[in-house]
Point group: C2
Chain length 481, copies 2
């Protein structure tokens, strides 16, 4: 057991007048202001009955009141259950009940929508400010083994599971990232990823540990981000593929300032053509691999390798470890990771925990391989693997190829049941304005792929089914077949 | 209990071709070479009988073979007892016997001098290379609770005590420093402090955790350091006061490159005049406070405060904590620190351990105060405090004043027994070439100090007694009285 001083209090002591939060409208808040507001908020929550161990739902877009609410919970030892605002009422209630949420705090703008959820006490952020403070002892230290947050996995398969994050998971995640990306005195990290996802939340934690401002966006907007990089001294931006695509379009041939040092790209394998385009536009993209269970990044390219190893997610962050349990002799296998940023398990779900964790190693369910220098390449979800006549087919290989066609906007490949081959690959395609026929696409695939990998059928669709985390839900495509 | 991958193996995996060690003669070694050589060395040591838990003395000046020997021990789980080469045979034997050293490894250049020490097995570094490797399992992980090194405190009072450093102490020390100073991709840290002191050793550990080259000097030489800053891309240098004095003289009005970002100044309070001089010469001095028991730095100025808070040692590194147990209403008191870089105790010395550590707080024996913004100012050793007629007198205040006189090269103030006042301050002075009389000095002191603080007598001496760590031994001065 290791305790550390409360991270926000500590940072407010170290750098009281340093900016902690910056919004595009010019609003800023220093670390001492953030500490004071979070402590006041904690005392008001205590007055309402929130205490050590209380599970408090948080439902909000990114803005400073959400940050204050999250830090307030840590002063009480309460646990934040971070809820995805894109979920339906049914989905939210599932998580609320599963997590035993007894208080729900919501953004003022969302409060109307959530008043009928299955929680006894539902309050808008600003409403709390009208309550009395209770004189309670706030935490001056954090125990790294204590639970801080619960975030449900997006569940592209099966029911969502509540991933438990201890203070230690978050702490080590921030340290691992620092040892890879470095910490510069002028760093400012832009958070457009929702704070209810671990990728966004991890930026907040880094902020209080590094003493670094967070530039906080309430929603993704490529123009605002472009301007923030050009004019507001943002040095690091975390994005997912679709965001990078839109940013590259806006950036065009603009040369970003030297101080902009990292576009951290997560959320799954990215098409190589996109990465090449970013490289030729001098956008310093660093691919990363991680998931809710690893408290965000666990494998990331380093500054020195980012340009040389396009397509790779890099190496396991210090002090994490990585191995690929090979399935076949091409080196592809399931990715297993270990390290102090890996969750201790799922809330109230011993079966899932035991299935995923073996002697501290997490079986990620993702497939990948290591090159001769030990760099990881992620090829997709294990559940998405297509086995056709005994041959393994990785949808990402076919998807990457077809994405090279300018007519194709998006593509998802799944395995269709087949009497003769067990499964055959088929492709769901969203076209751009340009037209292309099924036979043209198949003919292109035949030129570049082994016969068994060529999609048997091309289904043209208007859009691909995505979940609340914006990930493609392949099992919904299978239902269409 | 937390384990991490072996830090050198991990860094060699992350950055195999990055430079790990650089010597002024142009010799370099990469992290993969350092790992390979250290592992080979470990297997040879294993062949000689060194195993997990063996206490191995290391006696060497700074050079790459010493680094290899230290890392080799970590692959076996053996414990390094780092011995000061300036000690006498009697002093070395005291530490060797106290620490239960069963093997002694010494630099080739020193082997003749140490052949008669009280250790059964004494070998020169290069001799080990002639032995056979034993096929043993080397550590792939490090347990942060395991002991890695033992370093004896320099003992300006009483017998030296063996300070135990776990892997965790070293790890957290490196992390704490990174969170304060930042980590830049181009960092290169110059180690002229001996690696047998924790200030030097800590640079080695940072090197393998950050993936940063160490520029290694076998002895202090201001011309070599000046050149390394100007021409070899050194970004950080750790020094003590006397080194900084000599460096400033050599540097003159030279403007150092922008990339040289930190002169980390430890080893006790420095005269303010020296710090002002460094500031006016644009040398980025960061004062730091630490000791063997805190695995080097525990309180350090930050880049943003270094120029504004001259004379302060800064704030407690993340995640360390600091408090001053006030002795009198001027705010001065004993400095207490807590954090995962603080030793768990002294080897085989329960009495000293219990005296120093209370509920994880280390009573440092140093006196200091916090200003209104929480910055620490160190005023001296508690044992050096002079109490005269009930008034507390801090020798450093008088020493700092007298150092302003250009005729005075060095000065040490101690308390002389006095029938009327219990103690009165007296000063031991080393003059420069310029002459100055006792009455001139006393007259200067009278102008600036309260009457009870004015030294009663000035003793002119050729030099001040220093121990093997180059610290002034005040109790030897007392014996002269």
């Amino acid at each position: 057991m290791e305790t550390i001083p409360h991270w926000l209090t500590k940072q407010a002591d170290l750098a009281p007048s340093q900016t902690a939060i910056e919004l595009p409208d010019g609003f800023t808040m220093t670390f001492s202001e953030l500490r004071d507001e979070s402590q006041t908020y904690a005392k008001k929550l205590a007055g309402m009955g929130v205490a050590k161990g209380t599970h408090v739902g948080i439902l909000s877009t990114n803005y400073h009141r959400m940050v204050i609410a999250i830090h307030a919970l840590s002063y009480l030892g309460a646990v934040g259950v971070l809820l995805n605002i894109r979920l339906t009422e049914t989905e939210l209630n599932y998580q609320i009940i599963d997590a035993g949420v007894s208080y729900l705090l919501a953004a003022d703008s969302l409060i109307e929508q959530v008043m009928h959820l299955d929680v006894e006490k539902i309050h808008a952020f600003s409403e709390i400010n009208t309550y009395e403070e209770k004189a309670v002892n706030l935490n001056t230290e954090l125990n790294l083994d204590d639970t801080f947050t619960i975030i449900y996995t997006s569940g592209t398969t099966g029911f969502p599971k509540g991933v438990i994050h201890t203070y230690g998971n978050h702490w080590w995640s921030a340290i691992g990232s620092a040892l890879n990306l470095g910490i510069n005195t002028n760093d400012k990290w832009l958070a457009t990823l929702p704070l209810f996802h671990v990728g966004g939340l991890s930026i907040l934690i880094k902020s209080v540990i590094y003493g670094m401002p967070v530039y906080l966006l309430d929603k993704f907007n490529e123009d605002v981000i472009h301007k923030a990089i050009m004019k507001s001294g943002v040095t690091i931006v975390s994005v997912v593929t679709v965001m990078l695509q839109r940013l590259i379009t806006v950036a065009g041939s603009t040369k970003y300032p030297e101080t902009f040092r990292c576009m951290l790209l997560g959320g799954g394998p990215a098409p190589k053509s996109l990465l090449e385009k970013a490289k030729s536009n001098h956008i310093p993209v660093f691919q990363t691999y991680g998931m809710t269970e690893t408290s965000s990044q666990i494998v990331t390219l380093s500054p020195k390798d980012a340009l040389e190893k396009i397509g790779s997610a890099g190496k396991a962050l210090f002090p994490a470890q990585l191995k690929v349990i090979t399935l076949e002799n091409n080196g592809i296998g399931e990715i297993h990771v270990k390290g102090p940023m890996v969750t201790k398990g799922y809330l109230n779900n011993k079966v899932a925990t035991e299935k995923a964790l073996h002697s501290e190693w997490l079986a990620t369910g993702d497939l990948g391989y290591l090159d001769t220098e030990g760099f990881l390449y992620v090829v997709g979800r294990r559940n998405d693997l297509i086995i056709s006549g005994g041959e393994n087919i990785y949808p990402s290989e076919i998807e990457n190829l077809l994405t090279n066609l300018t007519s194709i906007k998006e593509v998802a490949v799944v395995g269709k049941a087949d009497d003769r081959w067990d499964q055959v690959p088929v492709a769901f395609v969203v076209l751009n304005d340009q037209k292309m026929t099924e036979s043209e696409i198949i003919s292109y695939a035949q030129k570049h792929l082994a016969k068994y990998k060529v999609p048997q059928t091309i289904y043209f669709v208007d859009q691909l089914p995505r979940n609340a985390s914006n990930k493609i839900v392949k099992h919904q495509l299978l239902k269409l077949l």
